[in-house]
């Protein structure tokens, strides 16, 4: 809506987020996660959140930080290993969890961003994931009906962004970020490099600024590596 998208910092960017809301959080593992906004949400203390993200972070980083402070009511993800606190809250019943296939997660974001209410996907046909869902046969193959996400905020991390909210992602840190950026009712983008509009080549932009409501220059990126692996 507004062309004035630049805010001072993460605290300003997350100001409108309320307890009980649904958030889409970009990243795959710890790669490309909105570190600054997660820290700001911890500080703000909103709780009863529904978080939609491919993973749930690790114990002391990423969404794991919001789990430690018990701010998450429900987690929707495709893979949630590597997190002891998550496991404890899940087994004790404190945390609701919905596991969905990774491609379904991505496509439900895409559908929201493209203004489509639902999609059909073959992922999960004949499995527990299909329980209670409409199955439709196209050209001899079964597909499940899956709905577009309806999220109050999307929070993404980009490599570069400009003052109009245009975003460029780097390497595999792109992952879910451009999809979630399109899918939020309101979208917050934190970027490593915020530049003046007109500086980025329009051909290089991955996410048009129309999808972004708030943008800010992130600080102090840790960019933690989950599984450092090197050649012998």
């Amino acid at each position: 809506m507004s062309l004035h998208k630049v805010v001072a910092n993460a605290e300003e960017a997350v100001k409108a987020i309320q307890s009980g809301q649904t958030l889409l959080l970009g990243g795959f593992g710890l790669c490309g996660i909105p570190e600054n906004c997660i820290a700001a949400l911890v500080k703000k203390g909103v709780d009863q959140l529904t978080c939609i993200s491919n993973n749930a972070g690790v114990d002391d980083f990423g969404i794991g930080l919001l789990l430690q402070t018990k701010q998450v009511k429900k987690m929707i993800a495709s893979y949630v290993g590597e997190n002891d606190e998550f496991e404890r809250q899940l087994l004790s019943g404190e945390l609701e969890v919905e596991l969905i296939p990774q491609g379904t997660l991505a496509t439900r974001c895409m559908a929201a961003g493209y203004g489509m209410p639902a999609i059909y996907t073959p992922a999960g046909v004949g499995t527990e994931v299909a329980e209670g869902k409409e199955v439709r046969n196209f050209n001899g193959k079964d597909y499940l009906l899956e709905y577009a996400f309806d999220a109050d905020f999307a929070i993404v991390k980009a490599w570069k962004g400009d003052t109009k909210g245009n975003l460029i992602f780097k390497d595999t840190a792109r992952n879910f970020n451009p999809l979630m950026a399109m899918a939020g009712k309101k979208t917050i983008a934190e970027v490593e490099h915020l530049v003046a509009a007109g500086t980025l080549d329009p051909n290089d932009i991955h996410t048009p600024g129309i999808y972004v409501d708030y943008i800010f220059q992130g600080v102090d990126y840790e960019k933690r590596i989950e599984k450092r692996t090197v050649r012998n």
């Binding site: 795959f28 593992g29 710890l30 790669c31 490309g32 491919n54 993800a77 495709s78 893979y79 949630v80 290993g81 496991e87 899940l90 087994l91 596991l99 296939p101 990774q102 491609g103 379904t104 997660l105 991505a106 496509t107 974001c109 895409m110 996907t121 073959p122 992922a123 999960g124 046909v125 004949g126 499995t127 527990e128 994931v129 490599w159 992602f169 780097k170 390497d171 595999t172 840190a173 792109r174 992952n175 879910f176 970020n177 451009p178 999809l179 991955h206 960019k223 933690r224 590596i225 989950e226 599984k227 450092r228 692996t229 090197v230 050649r231």
Partner: protein, 218 residues
């Protein structure tokens, strides 16, 4: 002698054809990249958003923004390309990936696969496995033939919750190579030193032995 994980990977690498786009799962499948035959060029797809995945980086050159689907640091090869997760699963769903290699906890003789959940244990999630098995044209499973207690993992029906139905085309286990056909598992190769009798004893699903069965070249 049952095969090592490396030998299983080496045998699967013999299935690669020049020009293939290939998705390798976590575990034994990842090792397949180490045995790509001479003269064959394949492009590795990593479902977190990369085509043209290269080897692990040399120490000091790890980049937090560049990881594979197993969250390990990696490199890219010339001509590589990055994309978002919807496009990544789009190319998988559209049948553009020629071969998918996955691990499994159980496979049934109709090609059902179970590899994501053990009831009563911590459920970590399916990640991209359900999308891959639902759409891949050609799925090879790399697995141990039996569990730690010696029970067959090649079954009539999966006992664990399935990841996808009737999708596995071939299994390379530590005991042999098996095509999955309308007649169930068809053993086409045996591991060096493994007897047909042992394969029969350790396979719970419907099994037949191909008339021109041969020893695996590993």
């Amino acid at each position: 002698m049952a095969l090592t994980k490396e030998q299983i990977a080496k045998r699967i690498a013999q299935e690669l054809q020049d020009g293939f786009y290939v998705n390798l799962g976590i575990g034994i499948p990842t090792l397949v990249a180490n045995y790509i035959p001479e003269g064959i060029e394949v492009e590795l797809q990593s479902e977190n958003g990369l085509l043209g995945m290269g080897p692990f980086p040399i120490a000091g050159e790890e980049d937090a923004d560049l990881i594979n689907a197993g969250k390990q640091t990696i490199t890219t090869l010339p001509g590589s390309v990055f994309f978002d997760s919807a496009m990544s699963f789009g190319m998988i769903r559209a049948g553009k990936v020629d071969l998918t290699v996955l691990g499994a906890m159980e496979v049934a003789d109709n090609g059902d696969i179970a590899n994501w959940k053990v009831p009563g244990k911590m459920v970590k999630g399916m990640g991209g496995a359900m999308d891959l098995v639902a759409s891949a044209k050609n799925i090879i499973v790399a697995m141990q033939h039996t569990d730690k207690a010696g029970n067959s993992k090649l079954l009539t029906t999966c006992s664990l919750p399935i990841t996808g139905r009737a999708c596995v085309k071939k299994i390379v286990s530590d005991l042999g190579v098996f095509d999955i056909t309308e007649d169930g598992f068809v053993c086409i190769e045996y591991a060096p030193g493994v007897s047909i009798e042992e394969i029969k004893n350790k396979t719970a699903g419907r099994l037949s032995i191909h008339p021109s069965i041969k020893e695996m070249n590993v």
